[in-house]
């Protein structure tokens, strides 16, 4: 079928759906939504609709990125604005169907906001939502809005028009358009995508490959997963455009096996592309032949590195090799190959749809466009966001993310995963772009942002990353294999309270060697979390080493759990739950933790009723604790009566 016809048909169907006489329900069933229970909510919705005999269209969509308030359900009553609801448990879903779909109470108190045109009294506009307002959603534009399993909905929203346009253009012109956009690789390195494509196009050879890197192995990152679960075709369109521009006949998507739903959505989408003549021979009536194969990885972080990734596609151990030759010249099976990350491919699709100049209108002079970030850790509104490059960290963390959980004090934000760095509060005004973050010792990376508050120990966080890269080091080169092990040993020593004053200099020395001598970027960037924490949080290292104290009360070897005598009400909950039987006490007696028995599991702190909050962690602080259980200290009669 001609593309124009397919487009018209898709748009007509989309329009008909929008003006449907039936009520519509959209439910986010991405991995986050499912973890929050959206499949149970979906079941409840279907059952209730059946029970009340309501004929509604229920669509499973991807996630809009407000993960903290999943499951999210949108309800559209004919002639009414679309309303989004957060934290929709099965009970809430049933209530909404009964009261709003069957009745006329939209329950403004449960709504997040209205989406699109129209308003409803008492419900704010979704575009005014604090997490959404500062965002510019380009690559995430369709997530949560279209059915990821319906190619026509993607086409109706402008999808594949970028590819259709590219097909009419000379490959060099397509690359020129990409260069005009200023798009830089979204996987972390930030190399110009247009230049990368051009190098591969110009490389001699009849057989060429394009590869999408969906290994997304950075702990704390889920940008690509969410994009593929909600809008798989945007990546696939990008690959098609790349295939045409570079002259490749085959594309591979290398997927992280831990993200099964995204792979399922991709497989389904590829099948649909075949059905609609977007893959195979003579695509859309042209001379282009192109196919896409999904390759499942088997769990190795180093396979995010491009030469290791190609080795893995070839069925070998995923070990990097030295460059040159660069993949653009000699890549997969020795053929010229272009590898980009999911977001880069998806961005190239929209760039061809809307033009390079349009994309370059967002962002800063050197970092164009928008970037997705995964907000996680100790932050109030966790989720996935997309903002113009150059937005200050403060806006992202405080305005979009709502600051640290429970109003606690912000300590640091870790960007870029194990290759990145930790930035302190004094760097919050930094604009988020490639150059500014690199200058501060961190990287934009693929987009992970993990917030640490005052309870997070920065030495322990550095140890965590080192233990991660140590574990994931492929072992091929000595600086990475042995060097990271030595750094990890020192960090473990420090967090165990056995650090020596010379350890800091030793860490710095090792870091320099590993950076200079490692074969690939995994090793070359492995010391970054240690270097940035040493740069901004040296006092914490010194407290561990010199005072044997963990200021964040996190390192197990350096803390003690204690029960504050003035706060303990003698309720016996902690005593009963302690798995080590380390708590002495009795009814209305102040409980005491026997430090010789305590395993520091933290159960007592977790189970102590919030209104008492009697269990605390000590690290170097002194507290007067009675030697034997004594009657509780009565604060006032009312409280005592309540406790009885």
């Amino acid at each position: 079928m001609e593309f124009e016809k397919l487009q018209q048909q898709s748009m007509a169907e989309w329009k008909e759906l929008q003006s449907s006489k039936k009520p519509r329900i959209l439910i986010g069933t991405g991995t986050c939504g499912r973890a929050a229970g959206s499949l149970k909510t979906l079941e409840a919705i279907k059952n209730e609709l059946k029970r009340l005999n309501i004929d509604a269209i229920v669509t499973e969509v991807g996630c809009i990125g407000l993960c903290y308030t999943e499951p999210i359900v949108d309800i559209i009553k004919p002639g009414q604005p679309r309303i989004a609801y957060g934290k929709v448990t099965p009970e809430v879903a049933v209530k909404l169907i009964q009261d709003y779909l069957a009745g006329d109470n939209p329950h403004p108190e449960l709504a997040l906001g209205t989406v699109g045109e129209g308003t409803i009294p008492g419900i704010p506009k979704m575009s005014e939502h604090p997490m959404l307002k500062p965002q510019v959603r380009i690559s995430l534009r369709n997530c949560g809005n279209i059915d990821p399993k319906d190619i026509k909905q993607y086409i109706a929203s402008g999808g594949y028009s970028g590819f259709a346009k590219a097909l009419q253009m000379a490959p060099d012109d397509v690359i020129a358009e990409l260069k005009k956009s200023g798009l830089r690789g979204r996987g972390g390195a930030g190399f110009s995508a247009g230049m990368k494509w051009e190098l591969c196009r110009k490389a001699p050879g009849d057989v060429k490959y394009v590869i999408c890197n969906f290994d997304e192995g950075d702990p704390g990152a889920f940008m690509n997963r969410l994009l593929l679960e909600g809008d798989p075709h945007s990546l696939l369109e990008g690959l098609l455009i790349g295939g045409h521009a570079i002259g490749a006949s085959k594309g591979y998507i290398y997927c992280r096996a831990e993200k099964p739903l995204a792979i399922e959505r991709l497989d389904f989408a590829i099948k649909q592309m075949h059905e609609y003549g977007l893959l195979g021979d003579n695509i859309l009536g042209s001379k282009m032949s192109f196919d896409i194969e999904v390759k499942k990885g088997a769990g190795a972080f180093v396979c995010g590195e491009e030469t290791a990734l190609m080795a893995s596609i070839e069925g070998k151990r995923g070990m990097p090799r030295s460059r040159p030759p660069f993949p653009a010249v000699s890549g997969l099976w020795g053929k010229p190959t272009n590898i980009n990350n999911v977001e880069t491919w998806a961005n190239s699709a929209i760039i061809l749809q809307k033009g390079g100049a349009w994309f370059a209108g967002f962002g800063t002079e050197k970092s164009k466009g928008t970037k997705t970030f995964a907000l996680a850790g100790k932050i109030t509104r966790t989720g996935l966001i997309e903002v113009p490059m150059g937005m200050p960290l403060r806006t992202i963390i405080n305005d979009i993310g709502g600051g640290p959980v429970g109003g606690r004090k912000f300590k640091a934000v870790q960007t870029g995963g194990p290759s990145g760095g930790c930035l302190p509060a004094s760097k919050l005004d930094l604009p988020v772009d490639y150059e500014s973050l690199a200058e501060a010792g961190a990287i934009v990376g693929s987009g992970g942002m993990v917030v640490a508050d005052e309870d997070t120990c920065m030495v322990d966080l550095a140890r965590f990353f080192l233990s991660f890269v140590q574990h994931e080091s492929c072992g091929k080169c000595v600086p990475c294999r042995v060097g990271t092990r030595q750094m990890l040993k020192i960090l473990e020593r420090i967090t165990n309270g056995k650090g020596k004053p010379e350890d800091i200099a030793q860490l710095e020395n090792l870091a320099k060697t590993i950076k200079a001598g490692s074969l690939c970027a995994l090793g070359g960037t492995a010391p970054n979390p240690v270097l940035t924490t040493l740069r901004y949080f040296k006092d914490e290292y010194e407290a561990h080493i010199n005072d044997k104290r963990c200021p964040a009360h996190s390192c197990k070897a350096l803390i003690e759990y204690a029960i504050v005598p003035q706060k303990c009400e003698g309720c016996m909950i902690c005593m009963r739950q302690c798995p080590a039987s380390a708590i002495k006490g009795g009814k209305r007696l102040i409980h005491i933790i026997d430090q010789s028995k305590c395993t520091k599991c933290g159960t007592c702190m977790e189970v102590c009723p919030e209104r008492f909050g009697a269990v605390v962690k000590l690290s170097g602080e002194k507290m007067d604790i009675p030697s034997e259980p004594i009657p509780v200290i009565v604060k006032n009669k009312a409280a005592a009566a309540k406790a009885e």
């Binding site: 929050a36 831990e258 390759k295 088997a298 190795a300 069925g315 995923g318 640490a452 991660f468 599991c601």
Partner: protein
């Protein structure tokens, strides 16, 4: 052991380059792990050495050479889970089941594994039992879930 299932897995991949990882994945899906005999057979059929096959299989975290527990408890150790207390979560699971990561309980009902990051960072810390992701876990919460599974396993036996 029964190798007929393996033969069926290998059939479509014969002569196809770069298929080793996919073959290993399918084999593990069917047998639950990678038995030595299967590895030797794969080497023979794909025209390579057992050494090569084991080299690839042992490189990737996904492959195991021992059978798995009936219920696989995975504790995520991603960054977000880490800062939200996944180490305490893992410890409590280990304490409760009396096994270390990579081991299975004597009755084979549970196995514990550590995973690097499952991408549910926004709902950290998470624990995955079989395919179900449990979000916002605490040690006490986790023990409750394990107790429930234990109980239902026992009633099934009866």
């Amino acid at each position: 052991m029964d190798l007929t299932k393996l033969k069926a897995i290998l059939e479509p991949y014969k002569g196809q380059k770069g298929s080793l990882i996919a073959v290993l994945q399918k084999t593990q899906e069917v047998y639950g792990y990678l038995p030595e005999e299967a590895l030797r057979e794969i080497a023979k059929e794909l025209g390579t050495t057992a050494n090569e096959v084991y080299g690839v299989a042992s490189f990737y975290a996904q492959f195991r050479f021992k059978p798995q527990g009936k219920n696989v408890v995975k504790v995520c150790e991603g960054t977000a889970c880490h800062v939200r207390g996944s180490h305490r979560l893992l410890e409590s699971v280990q304490d409760y089941l009396h096994i270390q990561p990579g081991e299975i309980t004597p009755d084979g009902v549970f196995g514990v594994e550590r995973v690097a990051c499952v991408g549910c960072c926004a709902l950290a810390p998470v624990m995955i039992i079989n395919e179900d992701v449990h979000a916002g876990m605490t040690p006490v919460e986790a023990k409750k879930i394990l107790t429930d599974i234990e109980k239902s396993e026992k009633t099934q036996v009866k």
